[in-house]
Amino acid sequence: MQDRWRILTATSAAASLLLLSACGEDTPAPATGSGEVTGAIDVWMGDPIGATQQPVVIQLAKDYETAHPGTKVNLRFLGADAHKTYLTSIAGGTVPCVALIGNTWSPEFAGLQALEPIAQDPASMQGTYTQSMIDSTVLDGVSYAVPYDTGVRALIYRKDLFDKAGLAAPKTWDEVLTSATAVQKANEGVSGFGIVGGNQWYWLPMIWNWGGEIATNTGGAWTAKVNSPEAIAAFTFYADLLTKHKLSPEGAVTWQGADAAKAFALGQVGMMVGGSWDLKTILAQNPGMEAQLATTPMPSGPGGNNDTFAGGSNLAIFKGCTNKATAKSFVDFMMKTDNLVPVTTKIGLLPATTDALEKERTTGSFSAPLLKAYAEQAPNTRSIPAVSTWGKVEGTGAIVNAMQSIMNGQKTAEAAMQELAGQIDAAIGQQ
């Protein structure tokens, strides 16, 4: 590594600061617009890349450097506030070259003029990538990112406990309530349903299940619909699971997916909504549980559908990148099926290219019985409003705050959803 050299330059820079010539610059920006694949690029890996996937990505970066002599990939793994990190770097002009970004952030960053267009006509991407993921990269008819991985949620439940109680896998949210109550009653120390109050993606799609919408677009103007009776009923149902039916410990108001997965792995939860990555977490923490659990597609609601959110990440190249040739070549490298699948498998997500997806479904890790439910769920997905200012809704935690205020009894569901609608309108309606 050249780290020591960097520290040396930085130290001498600090020394010059000491002499009060405070305006030094320690790294000369290597502005190579020549289109040659050489030199260093900064690559940031956001959300889904956790500790277990890091070695795979690090190895890929090394492989890339070996295959392209003269290049250097500076990797950085971001934590859960990746969104804020990206925003700050965009505002500060210190963006990386290549970044793995949450698919809901793609229109937002594109709207900030931060991303390099990938395809002027998104239709040209059809067939190569999963359609709902292509949609997530588009703003005003131009695609700004390459779909990388995609994930859906399904129900994970304790088959052993369900069998013991003579219960079948729940097909509707009402059945979720009755079976969870039964499991909790029959098993001391087991909570019926793992509630994830701190993360909206586990319950926001229920608005769709109840027949409602998050926001609708009429003539280019977005209007929040979370104050509809359907949306209110959906949120009330979820909050009731905790407050009325006490199917989770009190603390679940602030739980994240990882908390529910942790509790599930410890044998304290009978059922939870979880992504394939949550399933991996559970099995990694408690391998013995594999024989005890099963998965089934999401339950449907009064609205007659079981649609869930199409999550995932996209690879984007930032406009501020000074070495775009290398950046592009690195993205191409990462998207090769042989390089893509090892990473998505490790995360427990589906790859977003059709070729790799096919491979995973038929012979790969998603051909296993436990993961079949995710493959079945995949067609029943929707994406959130594709509007560049959606990030403000996510970033301020408005949706989570609304749910928590219902759970805590601070507000009635009607009041909370009315306020949320106002906040969403303020954020995305102003274009």
Binding site: L20, A91, G395, G397, A402, Q404, M407
Partner: protein
């Protein structure tokens, strides 16, 4: 140390040294050397502190979407701020939190200082131990305290249940604003007591002397001499420490960021000024509104500082 009226004068230098000092030194050097000596300090004060303050005030009167300065918009940022119920409640919450924190910090610090002052061979070692929490990074201490207050596996709940408070079985501290703030207050006070306690200890030591001896001879009890003599003697010091801990409490940021989910949650119930300002600037990317919040905080703290300056009457 035999200083009897701390902070009233620049103590320490023998008093007889004073009269000849100034004339002699003025002869030795003009303003050249001293200006040179304070130049670096002034550079920092003006460049990294002064300019940013002016700039913040300026930003607070301008639009600032996406961290880019927009046109002048008068008091819009401020009116919007005070029309926002979440800002107003954050302002009140921060103030109440600060008052509680300061009261707890000062009371506990005084107790600790008195225990240490009562002396014994152990006091020396204990003094070092007392100061240790100050050295624990705030982020780390926030994490540890969050773990201690974990609903399922936290040692706080275990202790409370063991003591017979069954209500705390699986009690979720971070579910409501009030109990979250209790946990955060404990964490913040644990972190800020050391510095204040040791400073108070120093103050207490400096009050030992003839006056105290005389009082004891006259039969004054422990509490009496503490309340009538020692604390009044320490008044300037107590003022500073009070102001310092008020300001630390107002600025608490790390603990809130680490201990609440989402930051400031659940449902806005732990939002404080520092957190709200930072989120406004770097999540909502509205630097105008954020700057206005910062200015409000600044004015508030400046008022507290002014009170301090008046109370302690700095001499030259």
């Amino acid at each position: 140390m035999t200083v009897t009226a701390p902070a009233k004068r620049e103590a320490g230098a023998p008093r007889r040294a004073r009269p000849p000092r100034r004339p002699r030194f003025r002869r030795l050097a003009g303003y050249g050397l001293p200006s040179l000596l304070i130049a670096p300090l002034l550079a920092v004060v003006v460049g990294v502190v002064g300019y940013p303050i002016v700039r913040t005030v300026w930003l607070s009167f301008h639009e600032g979407e996406n961290l880019i300065s927009g046109p002048f918009n008068g008091l819009d940022n401020y009116t919007a701020l005070f029309a926002d119920p979440y800002f107003v409640s954050a302002l009140i919450r921060t103030t109440v939190f600060a008052i509680v924190c300061v009261a707890c910090t000062l009371l506990i610090s005084l107790t600790v200082a008195l225990v240490l002052d009562a002396g014994s061979w152990m006091a020396k070692i204990v003094t070092v131990i007392v100061l240790l929490p100050w050295a624990m990074p705030r982020v780390a201490s926030g994490i540890v305290w969050k773990w201690i207050f974990n609903d399922q596996y936290g040692i706080a709940n275990w202790l409370l249940v063991s003591l017979g408070f069954d209500r705390f079985q699986g009690f979720a501290w971070f579910n409501s604003g009030f109990t979250s703030l209790v946990a955060i207050t404990i964490a913040v006070v644990w972190h800020s007591v050391p510095f204040i306690a040791i400073s108070m200890l120093a103050g207490l030591r400096s009050t030992r002397g003839e006056v105290l001896e005389a009082a004891r001879v006259d039969g004054a009890g422990f509490m009496q001499s503490l309340l009538r003599i020692r604390l009044p003697m320490m008044k300037p010091l107590l003022t500073i420490l009070g102001v310092m801990s008020t300001i630390f409490a107002y600025q608490s940021f790390d603990h809130f960021l680490v201990m609440t989910t989402p930051p400031g949650g659940p449902s806005h119930s732990t939002e404080v000024l520092s957190l709200l300002t930072w989120l406004q600037a770097f999540t909502v990317l509205d630097q105008g509104a954020a700057a206005a919040m910062a200015v409000v905080t600044f004015v508030l703290l400046a008022a507290i500082t002014a009170v301090y300056v008046r109370l302690s009457k700095e001499d030259r």
